[in-house]
Symmetry: C2
């Protein structure tokens, strides 16, 4: 069962896993793109499908019962590797590699291809929302004010073209357990989408975190 799991592994072991699963996931990410764009014959599509099914069976020979959850090392390093925005093991994630500073800022540059298209040639508005939600949450976490999204408001100034993009987010203000964050998505010509969100660590989440990992509340 997924949870906030404290794993007794070293940073070296995390690096070993990163070196293994990063390129593996990237290979499957390329496959996802190729499935959208391929124009090979029907017989070839069916042949590839059969091979994909065989590979999935090999991977499922031993697997987690549920979802990945979020793992922590004893040093407190988090691994949200199933996350659909930043997850190292999620081939559906762009992935977004986030940089942070403890003043409560987070930023990232990344590329969005065919799997993220809404209107032709443009990023799906919901994908922009998804990435901004993650990045605003990253900024609040970086600033020591982690929380779950309470409200999120997006303003779409113009279409965001597929391709190379940047996202920036920062803490706007805090008030007790509430933190407001702002951010935007940009292409080379400037801001395309603006976001503002309220992040709160709700009681049930505090209690659940505390029950599963009391040491993080010491």
């Amino acid at each position: 069962m997924a949870g906030y799991v404290l794993e007794d592994i070293t940073d070296d072991e995390v690096e070993r896993q990163r070196a293994l699963y990063g390129p593996f996931t990237q290979a499957v990410r390329e496959l996802v793109d190729a499935v959208i764009r391929t124009e090979v014959d029907d017989d070839e599509v069916r042949a590839v499908q059969a091979e994909v099914e065989a590979l999935t069976a090999r991977l499922r020979a031993r697997q987690l019962e549920g979802s990945y959850g979020v793992r922590f090392t004893p040093a407190g390093r988090g691994r949200p590797w199933g996350n659909p925005v930043v997850g190292l093991r999620n081939a559906a994630a762009p992935p977004v590699e986030v940089e942070r500073d403890p003043a409560g800022r987070a930023w990232a540059s990344f590329h969005l291809g065919a799997a993220f298209e809404g209107p032709p040639g443009l990023v799906h508005g919901g994908v922009s929302a998804m990435i901004l939600d993650q990045m605003l949450g990253e900024a609040t976490g970086a600033g020591g004010k982690p929380g779950m999204t309470g409200t999120l408001t997006l303003r779409y100034r113009r279409g965001t073209p597929l391709g190379d993009l940047r996202c920036e987010a920062w803490i706007d203000r805090t008030e007790g357990i509430k933190t407001w964050a702002k951010g935007h998505l940009m292409d080379a010509d400037g801001v395309t989408v603006e976001a503002e969100g309220l992040f709160i660590l709700p009681r049930w989440a505090r209690e659940r975190l505390q029950a599963e990992n009391p040491r993080y509340f010491e």
Copy 2:
């Protein structure tokens, strides 16, 4: 290059493609899930990666230059098959299969697994936003008021558990080229996330649509 493309194909041909690409994409969707959850040995991961790379090369032997775009049949049937929420050929999409009525309502039941996880066991808040953006847009389109997202506001009432979910959306009001839509995401116990959005067909999009497919503006 992606665009709003009018293809001269029959409904039968669309059905043939659906029967081919639907199961193919589902097979890759299962692979994405298995990549997150597998616990097989490192050597097996590397062996599967090599095979995935070979399959991708086979699919890329002939492929679209860019993204999929949105295709239309002469009968006006749209195929947003690359779409990250509803796309038949997008293995990163849940996919959400939308039902609609011309009064401006859209609804869907679907399952979200490991690839959509944010907090442990819960749907990523950004994924909820992405699906609601699509569904509000579906409602406005169903009601004959298509548009791109202008603003979108989400209120997260509680965590949305991974698993079987439902999303409902409807047109709230319209004013010229502006349409406001509302909707929510639900689990078996009721509403988890509420959304409200303003949808507009901006001038650049109207001009582009008209240039590419004048017949849709006759």
